[in-house]
């Protein structure tokens, strides 16, 4: 091998490692900075002191009790939720694009988000508590995907294509059902709350509601991170995967179960937030290329950063809240347009 080839490689690897490393650190930095943002002004050092105050009691004595509570009980869970939901969408979008061999797929390919939306609307219609809404959204997210999956089992040919089709069908079914619920909902009370939920928001997040989100998101991310290199092989198609000793059917089912649980947990907390699962993998590919060994960690970092930033805009730009789903669309679509223009190698 010529020495030049030997020389160029480690350099390339190193710069790639720096990029990946910084993209993983980025959400942590944004996370801390975002804690300082809001109507009540508190500098970064103040924030760090408040964060550490549960451990070292004297640390934040000079900071008013109200401010401490604002940081620990309102901003911290909300920004943490933004981080987890963003990371979850980034990773699930990447994994699903790989196993569906299609860069136009996102976390909602099998109807999980639409199903969850219906579940939430149903609970809101019956004046359910926030917990009931969250659980109903989670359960119906899973129901939608299960229906799509069972439906696809009825056909013997090209399971992937049928599964995609079933996802679209089940999605349409649930969105019709949601429309029906909106139609019968009280236009002064329930209808606005359903509409607002469907637009996505992290306003009402509490530590208690965070728990399922944390468990499913972190568990799912660890699993996807562990199998990330095998996503490359699955993206080649079933025959090639099999010839490389990988069982594509089992792996895909496990991945679909994992991404469904993650997405349902995220949606049930945040409401419908589109575009993240579609845009982030494209952005990641542009930065580190399509190799999922690097792409997956990068899309976790990018997704988390993106949603923290969008949520910052949502809660600080105007006196009132801007729905997250609206913002991700307004920001995500132009970004995707630019990315598609810039991507040279197909995708």
């Amino acid at each position: 091998m010529p020495p030049s080839a030997n020389m160029s490689n480690p350099g390339l690897q190193l710069s790639k490692k720096i990029i990946i490393g910084s993209l993983i650190i980025l959400p942590v930095v944004l996370f801390l900075l975002s804690l300082t943002l809001g109507r009540y002004q508190l500098g970064p050092f103040g924030v760090v002191r408040v964060l550490l105050s549960p451990l070292f009691t004297d640390l934040a004595n000079d900071i008013p009790e109200v401010a401490q509570r604002l940081i620990l009980r309102v901003r911290l869970p909300r920004i943490l939720a933004a981080l987890l939901v963003g990371a979850s969408y980034g990773a699930t979008g990447t994994a699903l694009q790989a196993i569906f061999k299609n860069p136009l797929v996102d976390s909602n390919i099998l109807g999980v988000t639409t199903g969850a939306g219906f579940g939430a609307a149903l609970a809101l219609l019956w004046m359910g508590s926030q917990w009931q809404v969250q659980i109903s959204a989670f359960v119906f997210g899973l129901v939608a995907v299960s229906l799509a999956f069972l439906g696809s089992r009825l056909y013997k040919t090209t399971p992937l294509l049928v599964l995609t089709l079933m996802g679209i069908l089940v999605g349409s079914l649930f969105s019709s059902l949601t429309s029906l619920l909106k139609y019968v909902a009280d236009p002064l009370d329930t209808l606005p709350s359903i509409t607002f939920w469907l637009l996505g928001s992290l306003t009402s997040i509490t530590w208690g509601r965070m728990l399922p989100l944390m468990i499913f998101t972190i568990g799912g991310l660890v699993f996807l991170w562990l199998i990330r290199w095998r996503l490359n092989i699955l993206s080649l198609g079933d025959d090639e995967a099999k010839s490389l000793g990988v069982d594509p059917t089992t792996m895909k089912i496990v991945i679909i179960v994992c991404t469904t649980l993650m997405t349902a947990a995220a949606v049930s907390v945040s409401g419908v937030i589109g575009w993240v699962g579609l845009v982030i993998p494209h952005a990641g590919r542009l930065i580190v290329g399509p190799d999922h060994k690097h792409l997956l960690p990068v899309t976790i970092g990018l997704g988390a950063s993106f949603l923290i930033l969008v949520d910052d805009v949502a809660r600080t730009l105007l006196p009132g809240e801007i729905p997250l789903g609206v913002l991700t669309g307004l920001i995500g679509v132009p970004i995707l347009m630019v990315l598609l223009r810039r991507s040279r190698t197909g995708w």
Partner: protein, 450 residues
């Protein structure tokens, strides 16, 4: 390198029950050998490769790897021995050449592992073996088709497999890239690697293969050394083309070097009256063996007229002429029906009418056939005595593709109970006809002229 032998014993496969696409295929591949699978599209090559690769489970029979049934190996164990390269396709994502080749390490890695430094070294070495080190950071979607094929070979090398199954590796490649890929395959056999290659290039098989398996309609029509089994007859039978073998110089016509496709020559049949005409030569040849003339051409080319003229002249010469012709029935210049005439007695019946609304058992999209006339014609053809000239006008898709219609005509020509047979077929069926009667003489083109 370990000697690994792959064998298939009587394997059959069907995608849907009752529709067998692979019938009783057996083969043995030894270390360092190249086996070529040749045959027409839809002949079963890819299905056979998929069975051998363990992607499909044969419905009967078994594939053996070192005398162990393939099913007894785990997916990873199998993939450590057998590699598979599909027909060139562009993946959804633009992986680099190296990332693509690195995937070959999958069967050697644990479930949750990612490739290590050692795997990277193996892949770099594999890429160097196929001459792609320079391109390793290029995107697989940006390189040429030939280079993509080499990447897949490098992936197989990184897989450390002993047998590489390749589905049409030279399809869509220009001549120099075909050569590049095939030479690399040839070189790798010296390391004990063996290959099964499906292909549409009999000449590559003559140049590179140790064994050839001819597959047609899911059946093995020939299996053995390329120089022995690749000849005019076998290729006509498999592909339905007329071909000509060119032999190695100084081999006295023993060692074939290439098979070339010959366009069915537009032979000018001439008149039977003319002693130097082709038709007369055919009759001379028929003293040795029965001859089959296939008359083909577009509708209106004068096929039936040619047959009637031939019958008339032959009869004048005192030859025994038998068979049937089917002139069209015209009304206001439009063909509205087909009749059928016994050449011996001159009896004529209506055979088909333009398709109306009522459908009979036997019909084509345009014509509706009279069952009674067909039975009558088949009876005539069935009891024809050996004669000098048998004319059958015409044999169509009904007979060749569906086994209906004038089936007695097919078996009559198969029987060879004549000196010269003259069959009219449409041009689109010529491959089928040549598969059935490879040695036939084709007369095509505008017959009105002659």
């Amino acid at each position: 390198m370990v000697i690994v032998e792959l064998a298939a014993k009587h394997i059959s496969y069907s995608y849907t029950p009752g529709k067998t696409v692979l019938h009783d295929v057996s083969l043995t591949l030894k270390s360092g050998e190249i086996l070529y699978l040749l045959g027409p599209n839809g002949g079963g090559k890819t299905t056979l490769l998929s069975c051998l690769a363990g992607l499909l489970q044969p419905k009967s029979g078994n594939v053996y790897l070192d005398d162990q049934p393939l099913g007894q190996y785990s997916a990873a164990e199998r993939a450590q021995q057998i590699g598979f390269t599909p027909q060139i396709h562009v993946p959804a994502f633009g992986y680099t050449v190296k990332e693509m080749a690195l995937m070959g390490r999958a069967p050697h890695l644990k479930w949750l592992a990612t490739p290590s430094e050692k795997d990277n070294r193996i892949v770099e070495e594999s890429l160097e073996q196929v001459g792609l080190s320079e391109l390793k950071d290029r995107s697989y979607t940006e390189i040429s088709g030939g280079e993509r094929q080499l990447v897949l070979i490098a992936r197989g090398l990184a897989q450390r497999c002993s047998i590489l199954l390749m589905d049409e590796p030279t399809a869509h490649l220009d001549l120099s890239n075909q050569y590049r890929v095939l030479e690399i395959i040839q070189n790798l056999t010296r390391q004990g690697l063996s290959f099964i290659v499906s292909s549409h290039a009999p000449n590559d098989a003559l140049a590179y293969a140790d064994q050839v398996l001819l597959l047609n309609g899911g059946w093995v029509t020939d299996y053995g050394k390329p120089t022995v089994i690749l000849n005019e007859t076998s290729l006509s039978a498999v592909y339905g083309i007329q071909s000509e073998v060119i032999y190695e110089p100084n081999s006295n016509g023993k060692i074939p070097r290439a098979v070339v496709h010959r366009r069915p020559s537009a032979i000018d049949p001439g008149s039977l009256d003319d002693p130097n005409s082709t038709l007369n030569k055919v009759f001379e040849m028929s003293i040795e063996t029965p001859q089959i003339i296939v008359v083909t051409g577009l509708s209106g080319a004068g096929k039936t007229t040619f047959c009637m003229e031939l019958a008339r002249v032959a009869r004048n010469q005192g030859k025994a002429v038998r068979g049937i012709i089917s002139p069209g029935i015209y009304k206001d210049g439009e063909k509205i029906g087909i009749s059928i005439r016994d050449l011996e007695t001159g009896d004529e019946k209506q055979l088909a009418t333009l398709r109306g609304n009522n459908t009979s058992e036997i019909s084509t999209p345009r014509w509706q056939f009279n069952d009674e006339s067909l039975t009558w014609a088949n009876r005539i053809l069935g009891k024809i005595e050996p004669g000098d000239l048998v004319i059958i006008d015409e044999l169509g898709p009904l007979e060749f593709l569906r086994g209906e219609g004038l089936v007695a005509g097919l078996s009559l020509i198969d029987s060879g109970q004549f000196r010269v047979a003259c069959a009219v077929v449409r041009s689109s069926l010529l491959p089928k006809v040549l598969q059935r009667w490879p040695k036939s003489i084709v007369i095509s083109g505008n017959l009105e002229k002659s």
